[in-house]
Subunit: 467 residues, 2 copies
């Protein structure tokens, strides 16, 4: 009876509105836990965050478990929905780990002491993880809470999966999905880890870039050397590393790793036109991050460069003396963290091998090189003509009073590809972040308005799927 359903939805949305302050303080509790997955000394915090989340899911009446992995644990919760529910079963995926907070001195408030700060668009939540992905994940949990409190219960079969290794490339997710395939059986996955087009324009993300993430180390002399007594005879690993990595891009910004573009599909003219029509203002986008001129490939449309073209970025570099003053040495070692963002059909492993060849082809005799691989993930394209995608479009249209736009993201969500491959289901990416949320950066924030309307959108989506 749709009428009943509608009134239930009305009560649920009212409950979300009335409970906003409490929802916000619950999120603050989670934000206070410095769950940095890449740093071994935060292992205990990871455990604490997992237990806190499990407590939340218990309160909602889900059957829960903290499941250990070779790395950080995964938190799962199950609910069968109403007896005899014919609604699709949703697997919600979120992550409770965050990026390191450094450089700490650039934060205006301590990264793990969340603040509600008045911003140009109303109050915003400032903390590491505020949006990525503690805030985004809690919206779904709060939507479930509102349904339980005011809607007569969880309206459809739900599986919640919160992992603690998304920021390090989800190394243990695939084995976990394989080992728990039966328990995780669902009709589709729902992921809230992406952005809106702008604060008033909702979006579904239909395209993600993949990742080949690695580290390269060069070893030259057996020890640091006096640059005067040895300079001119001894090879300098930092000189060599700069020369090799400086050669990654040609003068047009194209990446020179052998075979790098072999499987890169050009964007269709239709797609290009659709993105052009969004009127993306790259100048303003760059101004927001203190730049005036774009990087990337020359002569390529801005949104294509971010959504549909691969990149190579040095995320960190080191070698020799970086302390105060000077130390005139030829260092014995140098290294860099290098990551490639990939587009659909590029194979991360092949790119990694190509990069290794690229470096070795340029390495002087007598110098050693070693490589370490971090996360690998393929790029993704999502079908938007599905029951759940249509339901999401309706929910967002209803909440925002305008149609959601279908966008890409330059980011990587390895789970989407793994869920497709292992569980055989599509992901629906409905996120409420904004481009200026500074995720992975100091002063990461989440607009309270996005948190509020995002929670309402999740509640509406659950209603539409249940109804």
């Amino acid at each position: 009876m749709p009428a009943v359903q509608d009134s239930a939805v009305g009560r649920v949305l009212a409950c979300v509105d009335e409970d906003l302050d409490h929802a916000r303080s619950r999120l603050f509790e989670l934000l206070r836990i410095p769950s940095i997955s890449t740093q071994p000394d935060h292992r205990q915090d990871m455990q604490r965050a997992a237990e806190w989340l499990r407590g939340q899911l218990e309160e909602l009446g889900l059957q829960t478990a903290i499941m250990p992995t070779a790395g950080h644990p995964k938190v799962v919760g199950f609910h069968p929905g109403p007896p005899g529910s014919k609604a699709p079963r949703v697997l919600f995926y979120g992550h409770y780990d965050v990026q390191p907070a450094d450089p700490l001195d650039l934060w205006h408030s301590p990264p793990f002491e969340p603040q509600l700060v008045e911003g140009p668009r109303g109050p915003r939540i400032v903390a590491r993880g505020a949006v990525d992905a503690k805030g985004q994940s809690m919206m779904f949990i709060e939507a479930l809470r509102a349904w339980k409190t005011a809607g007569g219960g969880i309206p459809l079969p739900v599986i919640v999966l919160m992992e603690g290794e998304e920021e390090i490339g989800s190394p243990n997710l695939e084995p976990f999905l394989k080992a728990n395939q039966a328990d995780l059986r669902a009709d589709f996955a729902l992921i809230s880890d992406t952005n809106m087009w702008d604060i008033d324009t909702p979006a579904l993300t239909t395209r993600l870039r993949g990742m080949c993430n690695c580290e390269v180390t060069l070893k030259g002399p057996g020890m640091d050397l006096h640059s005067g007594l040895f300079g001119g005879s001894a090879l300098n690993p930092v000189n060599v590393l700069a020369r090799i990595l400086g050669d990654l891009h040609d003068k047009d910004g194209r990446i020179q790793v052998p075979g790098f573009y072999d499987k890169v599909r050009p964007v269709s003219s239709g797609q290009a036109a659709e993105w052009q029509s969004l009127g993306f203002d790259e100048a303003a986008f760059l101004k927001g991050i203190g730049l005036t001129t774009p990087g990337g490939e020359k002569g390529v449309q801005a949104l294509q460069r971010i959504w549909a073209r691969p990149t190579a970025d040095i995320n960190g570099i080191w070698g020799g003396y970086a302390g105060p003053g000077s130390k005139t040495i030829i260092p014995s070692e140098a290294g860099a963290k290098v990551s490639f963002r990939l587009v659909p059909d590029q194979e991360p492993q092949a790119i990694f091998e190509g990069f290794q060849r690229f470096v070795r082809d340029r390495l002087p005799t007598g110098m050693q090189v070693s490589f370490q691989a971090f996360g690998m993930a393929a790029g993704i394209l999502i079908d938007t003509d599905t029951v759940w995608a249509r339901a999401a479009k309706e929910a967002l249209q209803q909440e925002y009073g305008r149609p959601a736009v279908m966008i890409g993201s330059g980011g990587t969500i390895p789970v989407v590809e793994q869920i497709k491959r292992v569980l055989g289901i599509d992901s629906l990416m409905m996120g409420f972040g904004l481009d200026d949320d500074q995720i992975h950066s100091p002063n990461e924030k989440f607009e309270l308005k996005c948190f509020h309307k995002g929670t309402r959108s999740h509640a509406l989506l659950l209603g539409k799927l249940a109804g």
Copy 2:
């Protein structure tokens, strides 16, 4: 009366031999003070080292002073020599500051806990500063002590000048020399901070490379950025720094800074032949530092590359995340310490300006660059047909039973050029280090045999100049 002189010399040398253990323990006292001039938190240690040295000079009956500078203090001592001495007045220059000791984990013993270790060529002193230049400087002081103890007193007019900023390019030495020109008046300077040809072959160093030592910092985005959401649009300062510094050398190892070679004089065929005759084994030299292939300019003789050709070395580089695991950011900043070793006639300031142009010419719009200059010094050529150079050749011939060879050094001793310019006198560089002493590196050492015979050589030189 030369006979008397000879017997005095005999007693002095015997005294050096008998006192070796005590001389070594006095050196150990100095080595235990971590006088690292480039690190502000060692300021107190610099003061302690200066006071310790002053105490040594007091014991020798010199009139002493610790003279403050804008940086670390200088220690000076004066002795008029015997009444009515006609001998040349010698200005001995040494330095009591040392390079940082890191990487600490590569030391086999704590850098500031000196050890006497049995090596392939007898016992060796292992510590930061063992040879550069605490050990080298103490040889002269011990030679003075032997003359005072067994030779009837300091045999000629002596000025001792010990500075605490040699390892940071002697920023305050020139003003100091200018301010104290009258007190520092001497016939020549004696510096013991260079190497022998090998442990049995003494050498005078007649050529030094100069230095242009600086730091470059690139600023891109106003904050670290997510490499997925911004990659392809945001300029990456580490990518740019690698590209620019990777371009410093062409494929033949020639430096591409504009005008860099304009004033570089080719080595004369005579000089080239003399160096060739030394039979330098570069393969063995490289093997000693864990390398197989030389760097530097292609097609240039090994000793010329080290002694008579300029270099450009990145001494340190940083930017982005260098911690454990990965952090997929586009860093907001990147920097490097870059030093150029220069040959006579190259002007350090002009090279510094050329390097700044080199970087700015390659800098993308919207990225900021800043430079910091450290030490600057011109290259040096020394005249060996002087009273003191001839006396030194005689002393070394007598101690080692073979003629000293006239060599170059790839290193930089800014004081030589400053003493020439400000005080108008030549320097005599008689040093007793060896190529494998690992100065500026972990496990720096000084062969006890070099320390002993070096002290004897200094004692002999003083006798010959006095006689």
